[in-house]
Symmetry: C2
């Protein structure tokens, strides 16, 4: 009986599923494709490889050797230390989400700067009004927390919009590409926040990133600064941010990720003027480019895996990404 | 009695008004600044130069030698041929609006591609949903009608977002900068529309541009294509566009300009799903960068005017821009 790959994703295009099946067969695998986790669970019992987006799949797969997360964030797989055995390879889909998530970040940045939701309420009420003062990315000092493909994709986009200075901040301060004017280590973040007009956050959910945008740090920022978070909700002190917005101590914010998801029905986050809420929809395989890259990266890794070559996007469990 | 400049704009920052007054005095002018057209009208009686945004100012100024429009579009000044005497210099503020209008265009492009107004309705109803399929600028074929600073600013931005091909179309097909993969003449537009994923329109309101995006041309476009118009509403057959959206023959549109402005209360444009409406707010001096550039360009021209040097942004009345 041939070795088995289980692929699980509700949004995968038929031709991409077919592509995995073909390539898998070519490399000696039986590939089973499921749209829902529930249907896939029984099939995981003898799976060697799983490509999916839910920790329940791991639990159901005692023979698992490689789990390929269709997401970038893998905190859900690492918080329970007993879930993934030491010898199971864990890869994520970093690199697949850059275009979609950075476009979402750019869109929401512009929506906050240009007060688009105030304008939208005029349109809903059929009111013709066009004299609200708006901000611009042009000439702005942009600080990006997280310089992977999402942060760097965002940097390229705000560069195209005429940002005057782009600082990339990552764990160690390592160089991250020509698009940045400078890079700095997370330990030095406090030197950059008071200079920042636009703070873009795309950090992984690790113990080190929890609460990075604290009440004190929010207070150190310009009154006109805007905060955009597409990484993990745990990185922001959400209540402190909402207070700062309500008290006009900060210019506004757009959050795609939250301390609790889904957002509880009665959470003030839903209706804070100046806070643009999106429903963790920046990535989520909804863009064709994401799905294509996601599958292509998996198949490239599958080839490496079968040939014993080094794989890409292998998660370092000590770092959490 | 010294020569007189009348400056009229409700959104001008005090320090920018002050800057005009200082520079004007330096060059031998008395400068009067008004926030409203009504207040300014009597002062126009002996004005040599007017910097403003309303044709009524011209009517009130029999001694006028130079009218500097704070807008880019000057159709309102040219449609009545008797308004501006032949020997009055007419300049516009092309070059000042690029950042703001192209950022608006980029934002609304992304909002249409990413179905942001559908998502916004979920958020309004506190519904957590994030699986709508969305589009991307990445890999898109972009066609830009009008290759001035707005069109070219937009080209730079979609380039930063990974557009795969950018065609700029202008009257003659003249070269318009390295950011374009190619430029073409308006006469050849029909060859490009069927290839286009994103059509960005920033054309002036002239007899030649009226109805350029006709019903037939809309029908020649891809079912997934999106149309963004920030130029003049007269360039689009608005009813045909709405029909195409309703019948899913086109992917969606964002209009900032309309056949009739303000939009009539009962116009279907207000509530066509798939059509993002903004209230002609892309430019309108609401961004600080626009106001700064607008004033700086005027003062540069003022220096040229007083010294008899060639002025910039002089409108060619035969072309209308």
């Amino acid at each position: 009986m041939s070795k088995k790959i289980v692929v699980v994703h509700k949004l995968l295009d038929p031709e991409l599923a077919e592509k995995i099946i073909e390539k898998g067969s070519e490399l000696g695998y039986r590939v089973e494709y499921y749209k829902s986790v529930e249907e896939a669970i029984p099939a995981c019992a003898d799976a060697e490889i799983i490509y999916g987006g839910n920790p329940a799949l791991v639990k159901a797969a005692p023979l698992l050797k490689w789990y390929n997360a269709s997401s970038v964030g893998v905190d859900a797989y690492l918080k329970d230390k007993d879930l993934l055995k030491e010898d199971v390879i864990l890869t994520n889909s970093a690199g697949a989400y850059g275009p979609s998530v950075s476009e979402h970040g750019l869109m929401t940045t512009l929506m906050v700067l240009r007060r688009e939701w105030e304008y939208a309420s005029f349109v809903q009420n059929r009111v013709w009004k066009n004299d609200l003062l708006v901000g611009s990315i042009n000439g702005s000092y942009v600080t990006i927390l997280g310089t992977g493909d999402i942060g760097t994709g965002y940097a390229e986009k705000v560069r195209g919009c005429g940002a005057s200075h782009i600082t990339g901040i990552n764990r160690s301060g390592h160089a991250a590409g020509d698009v940045y004017d400078e890079t700095a280590a997370m330990a030095d973040i406090d030197a950059y926040l008071p200079l920042t007009d636009i703070l873009f956050m795309c950090l992984p959910g690790t113990p080190e990133t929890v609460g990075i945008l604290s009440e004190e740090r929010i207070a150190s920022m310009k009154k006109t600064a805007v905060v955009i978070n597409v990484g993990r909700g745990s990185a922001v002190d959400q209540k402190a941010l909402i207070r700062a917005i309500n008290e006009k101590r900060i210019g506004g914010a757009a959050l795609d990720v939250f301390e609790t998801e889904p957002i509880p029905e009665d959470d003030p986050v839903w209706n804070t003027p100046g806070l643009l809420v999106t429903t963790h929809n920046a990535g989520n395989m909804t863009a064709a480019v994401t799905r294509r890259r996601n599958v292509d990266q998996f198949l490239e890794n599958l080839e490496c895996y079968t040939k014993g070559l080094p794989m890409k996007h292998v998660v370092r469990r000590d770092l959490g990404y």
